[in-house]
């Protein structure tokens, strides 16, 4: 990013290669619409391109990109369907068909792949039922691996509020997932932990 900010145009490709998968994944999980997520990813990196002269050396690029992406997503929801909630606004493809969910599971075996894909699918559905702020806090913390301070910066709130939102999302998810995985070890462990 420092090279790009210093005027090296070709470095945009490197910035994109490093950040685009994470930003695209985040947007896909938010809107569940591949064409829209690609458009928003492109616009996110164009915003970074426009503002590159304002970049402060050493500043974290990924939280910056997530912030832009989240603002773009919320703006696109408002401009498309102002009466719809953020979580339901982009649940279908442009042709009206249900959005496809292509999860790439890291498990080596077919059974693990299937189980991971099923869990991811259920988790994705469960997160879509939560308020956008809670779902985003949870995704950024647990899914994207950002620190609490970084998530607070992305979401424009305090660290305490991020923890609270993530905790509420966590509780809601636990309630929603118990029905799907009644005998799951993860759920059982969490029950014991609480």
């Amino acid at each position: 990013m420092a090279r790009f900010a210093a005027g090296e145009d070709a470095a945009l490709g490197d910035v994109y290669d490093l950040g685009a998968p994470a930003v695209f994944t985040f947007l896909m999980k938010l809107c569940r619409d591949r064409p829209l997520a690609e458009d928003l990813t492109q616009e996110t990196f164009l915003r970074i391109h426009r503002a590159r002269g304002l970049y402060r050396a050493g500043a974290a690029v990924l939280p910056w990109a997530y912030t832009i992406a989240r603002h773009l997503f919320l703006d696109s929801v408002r401009s498309r369907r102002p009466e719809a909630s953020a979580s339901e606004a982009c649940s279908d493809n442009a042709d009206g068909s249900p959005a496809t969910r292509e999860w790439r599971a890291p498990g080596p075996s077919a059974e693990e792949l299937l189980a991971d894909a099923e869990l991811a699918h259920v988790l994705d559905d469960a997160l879509a039922k939560l308020p956008e702020a809670q779902a985003s806090a949870f995704r950024l913390l647990k899914g994207e691996g950002l620190s609490v301070a970084e998530v607070a910066a992305v979401m424009g709130t305090t660290k305490g509020a991020v923890k609270l939102r993530a905790h509420r999302a966590y509780q809601a998810l636990r309630g929603l997932l118990v029905g799907h995985f009644p005998n799951s070890g993860i759920i059982a462990e969490e029950r014991e932990g609480t």
Partner: protein
């Protein structure tokens, strides 16, 4: 939650093509902006300072109270300004905690300053009745606005191009900073004494200026961040 997806391969090509057509800020744009804005704001402030001058009985006022007033006003203006103008560690402005502290805490500090420390001298002008106090405070209100508005305008333009996470609070901090710089000039110039005059004429304009800053920064941020290249796809039948 470790699953990830990749955008299509042609998105990279599309982005690079779009970037080649899109103008961007030049390297070190922030440093240049800050320097120009700082020089402009300082020039305006010094011109007004020279035009207004210092009240005639300034040297008669208690030294400690004078010094405390100037130091607290300067510190408050600098803190509010730094909260409003920092890019932050993630390029999205100051943290929410810093902004809340500046936007809510500093007005309380200034209120305490006006109530407890603001210097009054034996030769200060005072108004005994309430209507006269309010009536004569309007001049200070007007001057505070005239001094602060250009400073606020400069502050609002500085972060343009950035996506701020809390634009309203950032704008409120900039409004408070501009009002406090103006307050400092008015405090040195105005010979009228009395806590009510200081409250209404010197401190109160900070509230509408904070509101104006919050509204303007929010509107600028919204306008700048409006999705321009993405929108409802045109119908092929249209």
């Amino acid at each position: 939650m470790t699953t990830s997806e990749r955008p299509s391969a042609d998105l990279r090509v599309r982005l690079l093509e779009a970037a080649a057509r899109t103008p961007s800020t030049r390297p070190r744009a922030w440093a240049r902006r800050t320097l120009l804005a700082g020089l402009g704001a300082m020039a305006w402030w010094l011109v007004v300072m020279a035009a207004l001058g210092v009240r005639v009985d300034w040297h008669e006022l208690p030294t400690a109270a004078r010094a405390e007033t100037i130091v607290v006003l300067l510190a408050a203006a600098l803190l509010a300004m730094s909260a409003g103008l920092t890019r932050g560690r993630a390029m999205v402005g100051a943290t929410s905690e810093s902004l809340v502290r500046a936007a809510w805490g500093l007005p309380v500090v200034l209120l305490v300053l006006v109530l407890a420390v603001d210097p009054h001298g034996s030769s200060s002008i005072t108004f005994a009745d309430w209507p006269a106090t309010v009536w004569h405070a309007r001049g200070c209100d007007l001057f505070t606005f005239i001094i602060a508005l250009p400073l606020l305008g400069i502050g609002l333009l500085l972060p343009r191009g950035l996506t701020l996470s809390r634009p309203r609070l950032t704008g409120a901090c900039l409004g408070l900073a501009s009002a406090t710089w103006a307050h400092l000039l008015i405090r040195v110039h105005c010979p009228v004494s009395g806590t009510w005059h200081s409250l209404i004429g010197h401190l109160l304009p900070a509230l509408p200026l904070m509101g104006l800053g919050a509204w303007a920064m929010s509107a600028l941020n919204r306008r700048q961040n409006a999705v321009k290249t993405i929108g409802p796809k045109p119908s092929p039948l249209a």
